[in-house]
């Protein structure tokens, strides 16, 4: 009886079943006496208070740290993306280097160089223009003038598929304009634009040189002759 009572009390405090089990475990594992446990407990408490861990800011502090860590993780991801993008640009610039070197860095080959870049990427990016200017020693303004003067160059990214509707004279008299209208209606974009899903670019061209087949529509490199406005939907559905 005496023994059991002592177990239930600890420094005069009545222990719950839970607390008692805990005390027993500490006693068995650490081999400490109850007094030692009491003293060690006091030491820990005083350290706890001296660190200010009792104050309500603690949880806020932890939250702040957590948020910061998240922000850093985000930033890291962004940096990685930027790094990728930069690597992409470096790759592009290296390609441009190769192209420029192919022409021996000759400034009079500017149009040929831009054509090669356009053929590779289907458009010419701002870094590309700047780099060509740097490499050839031609002012950027003049390169911009050329890139906007010629129809072969595009300064915006193109759709995955290029739809060209021929409006040369022969196709015009055979109903080309109706094909163009139908294409604009179907894709919901105008001449020179890209569909929002990036699937198609629509272009009108002034003769593809197969006038005998007019009206002609060319998707990528597939030619369709004798096209009627109603045929377009079926033709375009082949391209994803």
């Amino acid at each position: 009886m005496e023994k059991r009572r002592r177990k239930e009390f600890f420094v005069g405090v009545r222990l719950t079943e839970e607390q008692r089990k805990l005390l027993n475990r500490i006693q068995e594992n650490a081999g400490l006496s109850k007094t030692e446990i009491l003293l060690r407990g006091l030491e820990l408490l005083s350290e706890y208070y001296s660190l200010g861990l009792d104050k309500p800011t603690l949880s806020m502090e932890l939250k702040r740290l957590e948020e910061e860590a998240l922000r850093h993780a985000e930033a890291l991801k962004r940096i990685r993306r930027r790094e990728e993008a930069l690597k992409e640009i470096v790759r592009e610039l290296r390609d441009i280097d190769r192209i420029v070197d192919k022409y021996g860095g000759d400034p009079s080959a500017l149009i040929q160089i831009l054509l090669d870049i356009q053929a590779k990427y289907h458009w010419i990016s701002k870094p590309a223009l700047i780099w060509v200017s740097e490499r050839l020693g031609i002012p950027l303004s003049r390169i911009y003038q050329i890139a906007t003067f010629y129809k072969a160059f595009s300064l915006t990214p193109q759709g995955r598929h290029r739809v060209r509707v021929c409006l040369g004279t022969a196709c015009h008299v055979r109903g080309g304009p109706q094909i163009m209208e139908a294409a604009e209606r179907l894709l919901g974009i105008r001449d020179g634009e890209v569909t929002p899903d990036g699937r198609f670019t629509l272009e009108r061209v002034n003769c593809l040189g197969c006038c005998a087949l007019g009206p002609v529509v060319v998707v990528d490199n597939d030619y369709y002759g004798g096209v009627k406005p109603g045929d377009l939907e079926k033709i375009l559905s082949k391209y994803e």
Binding site: T169, Q178, R185, L208, G230
Partner: protein, 641 residues
């Protein structure tokens, strides 16, 4: 091997011919843009497969050639040595061609050309009306040559003219011969090539340049491309001969980037010519050296103008410059530069080989030789044709072209592309040469010939040209930049039914200013389509302005669509195809177009199998009532489905 003398060339030619057994079957398949678009590549694959099946792949040669001309009926092929021409060949026909024609020597009847007038099958190319009236000096070899193989060209006597010029003639003699032949610039202007060559030759300054202009930007024209794709060595040979006569060490070939096959084939041709010693140092032991570079154009119509083209070669914006001093004297980098069109250069080897007198025997007194035209539009036989100068328009359109499609009425023929003019019916017997076409207000141009029928609205086509020219104008000079813009505004208004009485006079004024004050030929000739259409088709303009009527029923604002209740069979086809759901109707009930909703796109007109959709101009169709019962037409009476 390097060809170091004319004897070497002859030896090489004999070797090539000895290697090619004359009785060995050759299937020549046209793989130019037109035929490729119609599936020529698949035909080639099917033929290869079929030959393999019969173990004939080493015994029969398949030759992929350039354009053979009758593009409408592609894919085309010719089987040698019998010269059997086949039309509209499909991949499925490959087995029959191999089994019958190659193995047994029998023709495949169904692939022959059928004369639309008599229904007769024609076995010989030269008996087909389309070819019968042509003189194919430049295009003839297209069907016999693999453009990627220089040996094919040499086997047919290629580079013989170069050998002759370099070893038997002085540069002066070559120049004299070209001058005597009166070879005129095929690019459109018709300026005598010999005179131009002489100017460059005598101009002070070194080095001198020679240039091939293959910036064929005219919509509706593709003869330069055909030569470059199908027979690039003929152009190259002409250029080398010209360089020799002029004394140029370097040449440029300007090809538009839109012609990738032409770029590829001419690049291959240059490489092979270098290998064989037709280009480079000390050509054929003559001491003459010459190199060629390709410059790809980046898509600008105005860059085809000589001074603009030269700016482009220098790597600048291809804008024309004032030509107080001609480019023949001050061209690329201010050095004497002689620029000629592809077709002009391709004529040179023929003149050197056969002589100026022979050349002058073809064509008219003022214009010698032949001219290639792309005969397109509303004509039955479309494709590339080469005819002697002086042939009448009537012969071209009716004999070679087989007349107007669908039995419609001829209205006009447009020559010279956007720089040319409309020629009406009364001038159909006009002989086609440089001077005659200019007399009636048009021009030869590079050779586009677009035939228009009663369904073509002249005002609309004029607007089309001015729209094209206005967007292609480089904007450097005011008359062209502003004049074309104003002309376009007026034409747009007329097509929209908002024309004013004074518009026609204003257009005429604009033409005068354009002609007098534009910097380059783009502006000065831009007046041609307006002036000729006003001169010959004024009644159409007046119908648009005063009666709100488009006689050809093309202009949208002046045309309405109407379903004829007598003819409609209530098949629902137009209803399903209408993009704006403006047509209402049901089974057995005549369909009706809601004029308010209709956007006049013309889809119903095209899809109706009973021809029941009719056009009305002025746009006031009879009132339509919903609920009329269909009047059934008996089978066989279908309104021409």
């Amino acid at each position: 091997m390097k060809v170091r003398s004319p004897e070497d060339l002859e030896k090489l030619r004999r070797e090539i011919l000895a290697r090619k057994k004359p009785d060995r079957p050759v299937i020549a398949v046209c793989v130019s843009t037109g035929c490729s678009a119609l599936g020529a590549r698949r035909v080639v694959e099917a033929l290869r497969e079929e030959l393999k099946k019969h173990g004939l792949e080493d015994k029969v040669e398949i030759k992929e050639t350039g354009c053979m001309g009758f593009c409408e009926l592609g894919p085309r092929l010719i089987i040698y040595p019998q010269e059997i021409p086949y039309f509209k060949v499909k991949p499925e026909d490959a087995s029959e061609i191999v089994e019958k024609t190659i193995l047994k020597g029998e023709p495949v009847e169904k692939l022959f050309y059928t004369d639309p007038a008599t229904g007769e099958k024609i076995r010989k190319l030269e008996e087909i009306p389309f070819y019968k009236y042509q003189v194919r000096l430049l295009l003839e070899n297209n069907a016999k040559i693999d453009p990627k193989n220089i040996e094919d060209y040499i086997a047919l006597g290629g580079y013989k003219a170069l050998a002759k010029a370099l070893t038997q003639m002085t540069p002066e003699q070559v120049l004299e011969e070209v001058k005597k032949a009166n070879l005129r610039g095929r690019g459109g202007g018709g300026f005598p090539a010999g005179v131009k060559w002489e100017t460059t030759k005598n101009a002070p300054g070194e080095p001198k340049y020679v240039i091939v202009n293959c910036d064929e930007g005219d919509p509706g024209a593709f003869m330069d491309r055909t030569l470059m794709e199908g027979n690039p060595h003929s152009v190259l040979e002409g250029l080398i001969i010209g360089a020799y006569a002029i004394g140029a060490k370097e040449g440029f070939i300007y090809v538009r980037e839109e012609y990738p096959t032409a770029v590829e084939n001419i690049a291959t041709a240059i490489r092979q010519a270098e290998e064989y010693g037709f280009l480079g140092e000390n050509i054929m032991g003559s001491g003459f050296s010459f190199r060629v570079k390709i410059h790809r154009g980046a898509g600008a119509f105005v860059s085809g103008e000589s001074s603009a083209l030269m700016s482009a070669i220098e790597g600048k914006v291809g804008e024309p410059r004032p030509k107080y001093i001609h480019t023949a004297v001050r061209g690329i980098w201010n050095k004497p530069s002689c620029l000629n069109n592809v077709e002009t250069w391709a004529n040179v080897p023929l003149i050197i080989l056969k002589g100026a007198d022979w050349f002058k025997s073809i064509g008219t007194a003022g214009s010698s030789g032949t001219k290639i035209f792309s005969l397109v539009g509303k004509v039955n036989n479309t494709g590339l044709v080469e005819v002697p100068m002086g042939i009448t328009l009537r012969d071209l359109i009716y004999k070679i072209g087989g007349g107007i499609r669908g039995g419609k009425r001829f209205k006009a023929v447009q020559t010279g592309g956007p720089s040319g003019g409309f020629i009406p019916e009364k001038y159909l017997d006009l002989p086609v040469d440089f001077d005659e076409l200019t007399k009636v207000g048009s021009m030869m141009g590079s050779g586009g010939m677009i035939v228009m029928d009663e369904d073509t609205c002249i005002v609309d086509v004029t607007r089309y040209y001015i729209d094209f020219l206005s967007s292609e104008s480089c904007g450097k000079c005011v008359p062209c930049r502003e004049g074309l813009k104003q002309a376009l505004n007026i034409l747009n208004r007329i097509c929209n039914g908002q024309g004013k009485a004074e518009d026609l006079e204003t257009l005429e004024d604009l033409c005068e200013v354009l002609r007098a004050a534009s910097l380059c030929a783009l502006g000065t000739t831009a007046a041609n389509p307006i002036a000729t259409s006003l001169k010959y088709f004024r009644d159409e303009y007046e119908a648009h302005i005063f009666e709100q009527r488009c006689p050809a029923k093309v202009c949208k604002a002046l045309t309405a669509y109407y379903i004829n209740p007598e003819k409609c069979q209530a098949c629902m086809i137009c209803l399903r195809n209408c993009p704006v759901k403006a047509i209402s109707g049901e089974k057995d009930i005549v369909h009706v177009i809601d004029q308010e909703k209709c956007i006049r796109c013309g889809v119903c007109f095209q899809v109706c199998p009973f021809n029941s959709v009719e056009k009305y101009s002025p746009p006031t169709p009879p009132p339509a009532r919903y609920g009329i019962k269909v009047k059934r037409v008996k089978k066989g009476e279908k309104g021409g489905a």
